[in-house]
Symmetry: D2
């Protein structure tokens, strides 16, 4: 887990800039003999791909993944899988006018101060375009886990709060999520959400969101105490996504307001099956999976590129102001759903492999 | 960052069980020639030490730290610093009655399922007693950072929410925090908090808390993009603390409800100094420090050991119930304050060293 | 340092198979603002490139490197540098006849047993073609070190033994090495070596070699005690090269026959400069550089692909025999010279950065 | 694998100085439920312990190991195992006279230059006393491997060359090795070796040695391609031992003089069992175990502390000379045998666990 690599036994390393020729990743530590093809990965890529609805940026990228290594005759070989995605729709000119200005809320200022360099083309390496590479890595992890754990293994993410609008999580519907462009899990609020987001878009503003990712069919015992806690690695995974500012496991921040009685997920057995009365723990106790659904949610801050003029400085330290026109998502949180799912797959697989390595030998 | 080790260039590894002979840690990667003595570390240990007020567990531990290596003639040598803390007040008999039962909310069940072993003595390795070792490691990191960054470097933590009771963060007072047993930053609410916590204690119940840790005097440019983001490592650090279920950076989960206009921390210069109008980002943009105050908060769930009887199963899979008597904190969140501070020191130092290694060479 | 990644702070990850579409690497942890261009890398690539003389395989590869990320306007940005080298001359048909047989001395058998898969196309991932990617990574490290340490920094490798033929190391001539296809450092033996190697080639046989790599202009203090010793990391680096079976630092294996008097490199100062009377230590004491020349040598076993028929088994466990025709180097050791240099650059830079991170902060 | 930690999934971290209060290690990643007791570890410790014969240093250390954590009711729990060994016989006064001088061949000079500190007490952290901690870690690894692989798993080390004297490896006798103080495997040369070493001891000189470590009962498929090659990790492991300057796998450096015909270990099957005609590869092909005996040898340079006066400088840069009296081994290589065995156990177990994690899931 260092700079551009994520994971321990199952690891991926990403590379590439928003407006360079391509982006990509290397997935290392893959078990051999897992059937995989580019189309499997493309399905996940398409969920994150921009330009698919009026609610996301109009940048046109087909985000087509090419596998360059690690797969032979349709199966993983155990060698590293290198995947590349060529950038298509790079309009660097969009950035000419802001070349010397630091966009507030973006990493322009900190990158410049750290590296002494300004890659002004859409944020360069700081761009959320990097997340396309993780979705590819996550698709590989997903295939492996489905192969090992069977159909019961399932990860589903959704937007559970769009700006100031919430939803009823009791109405969560897996299938409905995939049928709407906002990854909304609750049919009853979708219309309202759409109207709200369009109004934000029209006004050149933006809003934040909360994404919730649920993982089912998880074996008991994944994770490790102390500094490889499953929830610690999930928190790191989600916080590594651009614009994420908060992460919850199960009841999360709300657990602070509960009493011990409310919070304890009572345990019982019924016909030999061990069950829990509730899931405040989000499926993780002491850093180790309980076998319940794993529930992680995270907050994505509003898109920092907005039409309204904001005060800022330029690279020479002078006061100025900026209004960002380009092509931007009114809510970057929406496209974070498949990214959160991808990170969940990767963390689960990594811990599945480590658990086998240490405890099942 | 693996199992029992935290950090990359500055790393510490902890060991020990709640009711074993001792606990301890090894701190590796220390710069040489930093003056350090056991008393420096003891100051931090004493903040976490149990049995100091009626608000915490009555387990008596003096938590005295012995340095066994890595310090010669009062200075670090660059060799690993091994520290040991002997356990004193181990009443394993407290645990005899619950030997075969899994305490809900604790890691008893998951540890047993993962390792096939039940160390029933106060949770064994899963006990929060492990955190004493991190406080020792954090004290070393603090000394080094004070030595390198000077007096402007300061980390202060406080309880900002106690169960259902909040406080006014505008009234945050560094000095007041150290003068009350609840690490409350706002004098106006202390009395109320004390009454509330005593009533919870008397009823054998427990409550959660939110801890906020602030770091000042941080150089611009610490952190790294993508998978060594400063906020990612801080999220991992805080989530690795026992009973933590949520982590926020700056506005955190609340950033989801903000608009782009509200959220963007506008930048300006005044007399050559670069400043920000607000700090929703919590001092971190794109994973890299802005030079502002770093603000991290995290939620600690209520103590799972409560007097009220809870349904559970025993290790043979039979339904039963449990009521935990022993000696327990009514709110484990309180003693998490110095732990959060320790983790902040360690993450900051690790990134300070990595930044020097990569960008200042 | 895991599976396909080498290094700690300066790290590279390689990918690709001998007969896949391409190979490549990602270099992570690069300091920013270092001028670098594809031509700088190509110079090193050309030293390793096959098909350049009658002494190496006739496979034609131009080994042209493309930089896909991490360099902007001619300078490193601090972001990962992704480099790709397309494979050109892939005659998989050469391998049809041996598709089901394990070549003795190659990794065919062990890969098949480990992964349950047989990528028969020229060895797949086990092919020495992977080393082209490290040479690219090493070229980046070289540029950085030259930028930081100046002209005094120099790494030179040579073949010091070709099969049964040695050379006089006192006649080591840097410039002569680059003027002959055998990287021979001693002009007086070259003719003999050439005749010897041609006779081996003609008979379809092969021979081993010893490569020596020397690094000059190294600061004192690089390395770390115990498990990041400079010589430990160099040994790992060289042993990771295909077909390497032994590694020496300084006097190496021969140090076993020395007395304490012979072995100790006496120290003295002359006009304020600290010097050593000898360099049995190879420039490293206690895992840390002394400031002397660093001297590493390693043995490369003879090419395992030979014309003479060898007994082996096929993938179904049946006894059979094999005679490998294809295009092969009569001595793979020769092309290991630039690879050894590349690994030296990478290890030195990694330790240079770690030393700055820990000791120069 | 960083500074004071060795290993990936099975990892140990050592700490302590030659003349501090104690040394020790933390072993992390242990599988649970392995029976282990202090006596198991003590057996290995006793093989390395000084003061046992006239051929080693007369420093008296009982090297008694205390287990402080990670073992409960006689079995590993999966939690980190902390072990401590108190130093007993610390005569720092031996070092008073050389306090300000750098001993040639030792790391005094490089440590001082790197860290700016001189821990003159017997070398401080650079002392070979650190290796006692690895022997303890290796004993844990041995217990686990014996538990998992059964009795066929065996690691045996011996001194195969003592200074200028060799032995006949065909006469290698496991049992004889343990019956003589020189770990000599060939009965026919022992007397000669003893006379030779005594003469070296009397003259206050020292000699080098070659140690060979053999591992049997190794499953096929351990190791990994490229940067986690089994031989690469073994080379790193052995080169991390104090005073080691060269490492061979199988034929090692000698493989350079072989032809392809001589070097290829032909494969055949007999009654369904796969066998090799020879073992030049030392049991490793392409970085992966073949199932043959793994054979690693390494050279230990002569003890640098000798009676003969050597030229050196003091810490103020002045020319001086030094003659080291203290208590020293005439051949440190002898006591390296159990250390080499310990490192072999640790590397094998680490790869066994990683292979299970990646390929057996």
């Amino acid at each position: 887990m260092s700079f551009n690599t994520f994971g321990k036994l199952f690891r991926f390393t990403t590379w590439g800039e928003s407006h360079g020729p391509a982006i990509g990743c290397i997935v290392d530590g893959c078990p051999p003999n897992i059937p995989i093809k580019e189309a499997d990965i493309q399905i996940e890529m398409n969920k994150r791909r921009p330009g698919q609805s009026k609610f996301t940026t109009q940048r046109k990228e087909d985000d087509k993944v090419n596998i360059l290594s690690g797969v032979f005759e349709g199966k993983t070989t155990g060698a590293p899988i290198s995947m590349i995605i060529y950038n298509k729709d790079m309009r660097s000119r969009d950035y000419e006018t802001i070349k010397n200005k630091f966009r507030p809320g973006h990493a322009d200022y900190t990158y410049f101060k750290k590296y002494g360099i300004r890659d002004y083309r859409g944020g360069g390496r700081q761009s959320a375009r990097e997340t396309a590479a993780r979705v590819a890595a996550g698709a590989v992890a997903k295939k492996i886990l489905e192969n090992k754990l069977g159909k019961k293994y399932k990860v589903v993410g959704a937007v559970t709060q769009l700006g100031i609008l919430g939803c009823d999580k009791n109405k969560w519907n897996d299938k409905f999520i995939l049928k709407n462009s906002l990854f909304c899990p609750d049919k009853s609020v979708l219309k309202l959400w759409e109207k709200y987001l369009l109004s934000i878009r029209k006004s050149g503003s933006s809003c934040g969101a909360i994404i919730e990712v649920r993982a089912r069919g998880i074996p008991i015992g994944l994770g490790a105490p102390i500094y490889s806690k499953l929830d610690m690695d999930l928190a790191a995974a989600m916080m590594s996504i651009n614009a994420v500012k908060g992460v919850n496991i199960g009841s999360g921040m709300n657990s602070s307001t509960l009493t011990g009685e409310e919070n304890s997920d009572e345990i019982f057995q019924k016909k030999g099956k061990i069950k829990f009365k509730s899931n405040n723990a989000g499926g993780i106790l002491g850093g180790i999976s309980t076998g319940q659904e794993i529930v992680v949610s995270f907050a994505v801050k509003p898109t920092s590129s907005i039409l309204t003029s904001r005060k800022t400085i330029d690279r020479f330290g002078k006061n100025t102001s900026i209004s960002v026109k380009g092509r931007h998502d009114p809510c970057v949180g929406i496209r974070a759903v498949p990214i959160g799912e991808a990170m969940m797959h990767c963390v689960i697989l990594d811990h599945y492999m480590m658990n086998n390595g240490q405890c099942k030998i």
